[in-house]
Amino acid sequence: MRRSHASQLLASILVNAVYEMKNYPINLVNTVISPISFLLVIDFVSRGALIGQAIEGGLIMSMFQSGMSLQGDISHLKNDFKLQDMLVSSPASPSVYVLGMAASEVIYNIPALAVLVALGALYIHPGAIAALELTAALLLMFLTSITLGFMFATLSSDIVQSFAWSRLLTTIFTAITPVYYPITYIPLPFRYLAYLSPTTYIAELMQNTAGYLRLSAGAVATDWAVVVGLTLGLLVVVSRNARWKES
């Protein structure tokens, strides 16, 4: 029998995005509201001065949240419904399954992304090159978070902890770190701590592209190198440690 990878990909999207959105719309509202509520708070507090940074922060949070949600969702399907066990004992392809789950997270976030992109077009109005740079940075952010999410999912056997970790990491990496605001707002001794988070580098790159921050060419290159290096490193760790079946 010829098996369709497109069909396998679509199955993950249907289960983890389309049917869930259709039958549990409240989850969708929650996904949209988190990045936008932070954006509004930053906008009000700064009296509109940081609206551009806040929109970029919302985009970063939305993409990071997508990756982290993968962790909770894979754990949920694996531990609560034993779906992964059913798929291991079938011709389903593990890589297509994970790819489909990752795609489903982006699709789930489309409403939030659509609102943020529309706001970005209004307030940041980047040129074509800048838009491409922003998109590349966000995709890299997504790849990093999805890799992190998948790594945690393979190690987790407790769904309550999975969701707690997902929320905790999203808060640490996107709300506390300088994602919604410039890094210069952090007092100097603590500024170095912010550089432990990959989201800081992405935010710097995006703020630089939009003109909210002036980085030297060397700093830009360093930021890209750090994020690309980290993502590649995580991919290697995940590919070595991810478990589809038990040994």
């Binding site: 779906l83 066990d85 291991v88 011709p91």
Partner: protein
């Protein structure tokens, strides 16, 4: 080895917690229904998970229809499907959506998957529940929905790990019908706590005790190999005659059961008849055989028997 399930000294050790499976060697037809029975912790789920390519054995080998379970797991996965012990239908989906997406994950194109899903749900008389959310369905209907998923697939080898645990007697019997239907053109490997279920369904029976295979064969052949083939039951309060050989046990209500051979059962019956006592004689049940092979139930077994659905 086509048409055969074969295991050769299959063992599994989980970390430092000891051997879950020890040198399990068996050869049985890979057709009809193979029922695996055993106490809690006997290794049933471990054996199923190894055969279903979910778990790697510590040592030993296994083949189904000549396909090596470990070395050729990818090829075997083309032919197998499993409903794990604590599998549940995804809460936010309907039985139709669950079956459709399971088939799509197996690689069926959308149209073909939809046709097969509709057909399978119809065969299991789930049409009227097909578009309701899984979380609103009864326990029995949820189990049937899981069966519909594997029934709709092209798999000709199906593993079901305790598929009827927690179901009421009516739902359980309805589920047996589904299993008989599934077994018409598939090999079903099931584990169960219910000895009556194994007796009703199994073409081949395997008995596991503390990780070791204690017996394998058809129910009549296992019955023939046990030490005692007859059971004499005497109500509480009645005089129990002297038993020259056999096993005498007294139940909670005071009923006495004597497990013995045919000649002794006849001799005991004659003594009881002469004394005017009430009694019954029958071939040993699977329960009797099980306890002869594996031993008396432990406190853990008794607690598990009263545990809610899904507990093991």
């Amino acid at each position: 080895m086509e048409g055969q399930l074969v295991t050769e000294r299959l063992s599994k050790r989980y970390g430092s917690s000891g051997m879950a499976l020890q040198d399990v060697s068996l050869s049985a037809p890979s057709s009809g229904i193979f029922a695996l029975i055993g106490r809690n912790g006997a290794g049933k789920t471990t054996l199923v998970r190894i055969l279903a390519t979910e778990l790697a054995p510590t040592s030993g080998r296994a083949w189904i229809n000549g396909i090596d379970v470990v070395a050729d797991d990818k090829r075997l996965r083309e032919r197998i499907a499993i409903v794990p012990q604590e599998a549940r239908t995804v809460a936010w989906m309907t039985p139709r959506q669950s079956t459709l997406t399971y088939l799509m994950w197996r690689g069926f194109p959308y149209g073909e998957a939809k046709r097969r899903a509709d057909e399978s749900l119809g065969r299991l008389r789930l049409d009227r529940f097909a578009d309701r959310l899984n979380r609103t369905l009864s326990g029995g209907t949820k189990r049937k929905a899981l069966a519909a998923m594997v029934l709709a697939s092209e798999a000709d080898i199906v593993f079901l790990d305790e598929p009827t645990t927690g179901l009421d007697p009516v739902s359980r019997r309805e589920f047996w019908e589904i299993l008989r239907e599934l077994a018409k053109d598939r090999f079903i490997f099931l584990t169960t706590h219910y000895l009556e279920e194994a007796e009703q369904l199994a073409d081949t029976l395997g008995v596991l005790g503390r990780g070791r295979l204690v017996a394998v064969g058809s129910v009549p052949s296992i019955r023939g190999r046990t030490r005692y083939q007859y059971s004499v039951k005497i109500p509480a309060g009645a005089r129990v005659p002297e038993v020259s050989h056999g096993e005498v046990t007294t139940g909670k209500g005071g009923e006495v059961q004597i497990l013995t051979d045919e000649d002794e059962a006849f001799a005991i019956s004659r003594k009881l008849s002469v004394g005017g006592s009430r009694f019954s004689v029958s071939p040993v049940s699977l329960d009797d055989i099980f306890f002869q092979l594996v031993g008396e139930p432990t406190q853990e077994d008794a607690e598990a028997a009263q545990a809610p659905e899904g507990a093991t």
